[in-house]
Symmetry: C2
Subunit: 218 residues, 2 copies
Amino acid sequence: MPPIPSSAYAVPVTGRPTLNQRRRESTRLEIAQAAAELFAARGAEATTAEEIATASGISLRTFYRYFSEKEDAVAPLLAAGGERWVRLFTESASDLPVREALERSATESLSPSDATAVEALRWTRDLLRDPRLATVWQRVHADSEERLRAAIADRCPPGTDLLEIRLAAAAATAAIRVALEQWARSGAPATGPGSPRELGARCMRELTAGLDLWSRVN
Amino acid sequence: MPPIPSSAYAVPVTGRPTLNQRRRESTRLEIAQAAAELFAARGAEATTAEEIATASGISLRTFYRYFSEKEDAVAPLLAAGGERWVRLFTESASDLPVREALERSATESLSPSDATAVEALRWTRDLLRDPRLATVWQRVHADSEERLRAAIADRCPPGTDLLEIRLAAAAATAAIRVALEQWARSGAPATGPGSPRELGARCMRELTAGLDLWSRVN
DNA sequence: GCCTGAATGACACGTCGTGCCAAAAAGGCT
DNA sequence: AGCCTTTTTGGCACGACGTGTCATTCAGGC
């Protein structure tokens, strides 16, 4: 008779992640860093998965236990901003209107606080040039949109129309994406005029202001 | 000295596509049809590229001359609606405001006129269930957004802010995408209440009305 | 008929991503 | 300390993927 699989690893009494989970996340980021350097240098096409694995100090088989596809290795860098956005939005004061909370958290998530955030922005600009990585960029935003949708739904009263919530999440995500793509295309620095923070704030404001946008494109 | 590559095939005197181009497009759609049936039946994961080629009556090597990836084979079906939208928008009366033209062309493009359009909608619902095809769905919309952006830019006076144009294209594309995903998730028919046409019209209107949306999600 | 350029098919090849199993590492227990 | 359990890791084999290359076939202009 097989014993009950009572996990040997302690259940996280606190809400903090397990030691193993933290170590796993750490190596995930190491791999992402190595992959980003190789992709930025030679392009994703000319980089083999084995090269990424060797550069990360792991075997090929282990690499595919952390990422399902070779290109996915840079996803943690591209997704960092979106995860921060959703976290800030969830933690923002609950008496704030959704529109306000979305705008503020978006602006703040685009203000690189630590050096890691600045690095992620830099990588974003470099990696977006590679057409093989456009797929990752799109998948990352699809995931972010879904998380944002769930977060918005949590703030809304139970009866709220689900279509409206989906639309709000999609529009807000698109606004930030457009701002980042515009910044990556331009040569503007990560802070100051033309920065993601400024462009993102503009896009969010014009989207939520609604009529302004549509009267301005014509 | 190499001869000037004066194509043996007649230059299209008329704006119509060449005979060869039309035949190529025809086989493209045949492959897409075969791929959609196989993907819907067994899933994209369990379908090999060779099976699609055999079902289409072509060799594996020829298949990869029509599509760069196995999953891409269904892209023509998923992209048909978006291409129709951009075409209708471009052809709409030039004195119409962009907002109006976008709404009308979107609604019309979501009204299945011929049997082919209805088929494409049906396939969309089936194929969206497959996570391996989500990538194609996202790429198709990214392409559609880019075409729409160019079309909007053509209608706007030269000085118009490019960021605004990008934002408008992205928001409109997101609205239609959300409407289609909501329809695919539901069991609603292709016409009538809950149809893509109705949901799309709602999303576009609420987006362009702006403030309504944001006051309703909270 | 001939000639030219495009489309197709067939083969080889490197890479991708996974199933499988054994070895090593890490945490909980007495 | 030692032992035990769970997790992680590495090595190997294998089918599928996607591409370079070349010979063959097809369609149209002369």
